[in-house]
């Protein structure tokens, strides 16, 4: 029969005798556990941030851009030659079964004025579909309607950043602002979205009906044209099919023969972001794995010290055996010692990991998330390390010959 509480007491006493040594041995585990927790917190934080950004853009999104123009043999960027029309966006919405909604975009930068305040911001001409495509709600007022689009009325929706800069804390709904000197009535205010994955302020925006933008604000040499459109597929699985349907439809409408290149580009925004998320996940695993190595090294430190301890205490082991300690009494004593070292080190390591994570969030401004899972994982792992690396020294101790051990000087 093994007396566990007494064995624990014996182990604690043995560890207290060599305080400095026990502390240094624990340090390996403290650093290991701390590193695992901090690294996983950084990785989880980064992933969380990316998922937030994905959902802030809107889910299941495709972007269709106008093609590139060629001027004197120099190819310009996509969108430089307006090839998409409002008709195209309506056709896609009508004819592509996997598409849920389409929002055309024609925009530019404009100076806006309210009272004696002014602000330079992006003004986007679009349709009410924009709100459903981007999963965007209004925080006050109402959206403009299809009738506003048909009639090219002078109404607008403001992002929160614009409201902050022009109105302060006043409710802007119903006020009249001037965009490029043309008066627009504020119909509603968009909910706060925060930063885009590219780091842009998504709230620094004004939406106006697309027709108004075409006729009054950004009237170009290509009437009726738009710069791009945002397309929402019905489900994530439909994204790929939508891409094909849109490309097919546009080639048909633009009368592009099979040998010619497309005069438009379809981009799958969600997929790009998901790829980023995937790579962040890999990074998290990698960071965790590297941190685990230091935990493993800490475990080897425990084994090292336990082996020294067994040798130093050979005589003590001999005495214990002489008065009746059995194989497992001796083994358990040393395993428990190793376990206590690793568990205390594990608890201290959790605290260090939390502190480091906090410090990273505070001073480096990283988003860190300490998940309970990572705490349980690293604490459990440190316990396993203790038992695993404590077993060999304990096994060695239990095999000593009591006669030899008693004679050991």
């Amino acid at each position: 029969m093994i007396n566990v509480p007494s064995t624990i007491r014996i182990s604690i006493r043995a560890l207290r005798v060599n305080k400095m040594r026990s502390a240094l041995t624990m340090l390996g585990i403290i650093i290991g556990v701390g590193a695992v927790i901090a690294m996983l917190a950084v990785g989880t934080g980064a992933r969380q941030k990316i998922s937030e950004q994905i959902s802030s853009i809107g889910s299941n999104l495709l972007i269709v851009l106008s093609g590139a123009s060629t001027s004197g043999g120099i190819r310009m960027g996509s969108g430089t030659r307006p090839s998409l029309s409002l008709g195209d966006s309506e056709a896609i919405k009508r004819e592509c079964p996997s598409v849920q909604d389409v929002a055309p975009v024609l925009g530019g930068t404009a100076q806006v004025v309210y009272g004696n305040l002014n602000w330079s911001t992006g003004v986007t001409g679009t349709t009410p579909s924009m709100l459903s495509v981007r999963d965007w709600q209004l925080s006050s007022g109402r959206s403009f309607t299809e009738d506003d689009v048909k009639g090219a009325t002078k109404v607008c929706l403001l992002g929160q950043t614009v409201v902050d800069n022009l109105f302060g804390s006043i409710d802007p709904v119903g006020s009249v602002i001037r965009i490029e000197k043309i008066p627009f009535t504020v119909a509603g205010v968009l909910e706060i979205k925060g930063q885009s994955p590219g780091g842009q302020d998504q709230d620094d925006v004004i939406y106006v009906p697309i027709t108004t933008a075409q006729k009054k604000l950004f009237g170009t040499a290509f009437p009726g044209m738009i710069r791009m459109m945002m397309v929402k597929a019905r489900t994530a699985e439909d994204l790929f099919r939508s891409e094909q349907e849109i490309a097919e439809l546009l080639r048909q409408r633009h009368k592009i023969n099979p040998k010619q290149e497309d005069d438009f580009t379809v981009r799958n925004l969600t997929q790009m972001l998901q790829a980023t998320e995937q790579s962040t996940k890999v990074m998290t695993i990698l960071l965790g794995a590297i941190a685990s190595v230091s935990l493993l090294v800490g475990g080897i430190g425990i084994m090292n010290i336990m082996l020294v301890s067994v040798t130093e205490r050979t005589r003590e082991i001999g005495i214990r055996m002489a008065v009746g300690a059995k194989t497992w009494d001796i083994r358990l004593q040393f395993i428990i010692e190793a376990l206590i070292l690793s568990m205390i080190g594990g608890i201290a390591g959790i605290l260090v990991g939390l502190a480091v994570s906090e410090a990273l969030a505070l001073f480096a401004g990283w988003s860190v998330i300490v998940s309970p899972f990572s705490v349980i994982l690293s604490f459990g792992f440190s316990g396993v390390v203790g038992i695993f690396f404590g077993f060999y020294p304990a096994y060695k101790a239990s095999l000593l010959d009591p006669i030899e051990a008693l004679r050991y000087e």
Binding site: M1, N3, P5, S6, I10, R13, V17, R315, E316, G318, I319, R320, M321, A322, V323, G324, A325, K326, T327, D329, P402, I403, L406
Partner: protein, 230 residues
Amino acid sequence: MGLIEARGISKTYSLGEVDVRALCPTSLTIEAAEFIAIMGPSGSGKSTLMNILGCLDKPSSGTYLLDSVEAGGLDRDQRAEIRNKKIGFVFQGFNLLSRTSAIENVELPLLYDGLSAQERRQRALTALKKVGLEGREYHHPNQLSGGQQQRVAIARALVNNAPIILADEPTGNLDTKTSAEIMDLFVDLNTHAKITIILVTHEPDIAAYSKRIIRFLDGCIVSDEVKKTE
């Protein structure tokens, strides 16, 4: 049948290719409550015999019956249990755990016997009282004199009510006066508590306290005299 019944036990160590005989086939009967001194020069086999009798070692041949149990063929853990229950050891170098109080040293055998903490404490206190160490229970070995340390060791041998005490040169590290006190304690334990005491010693003065003297030379018993009671 005696308490200890050794029939033709021998011990041979193999050092590489050479076999060294440490103990000739030896037969020995020891009754309960005997007080025996084993004498002989170093390397004469007396320590080997003590190790076998104390179940720290196995004989190479022969049978060893301890309290009618064949102890020669037991495995490590079974021998540990016999040492725990039936044998108390007293060593020349005391072999106490340093940095551990007297009472906890005495409790040590009980720790491996599954007794409750309260009972352990109680029995250890009683044993320390028996060896005259009342009031020193919480001293550490380095705060005790040699004689007192040996008394702690004797209390440790007594605490499990073992019928046999094996003492290997128990006075080897002590001065004459203290040696006499320790030997008086053994005599007392033998006479009053009827504990069988087997003592290894070089010194005839110490052996004189016993009732029977067995002499060893080159691994064999050369004489076995029972002292006539006056």
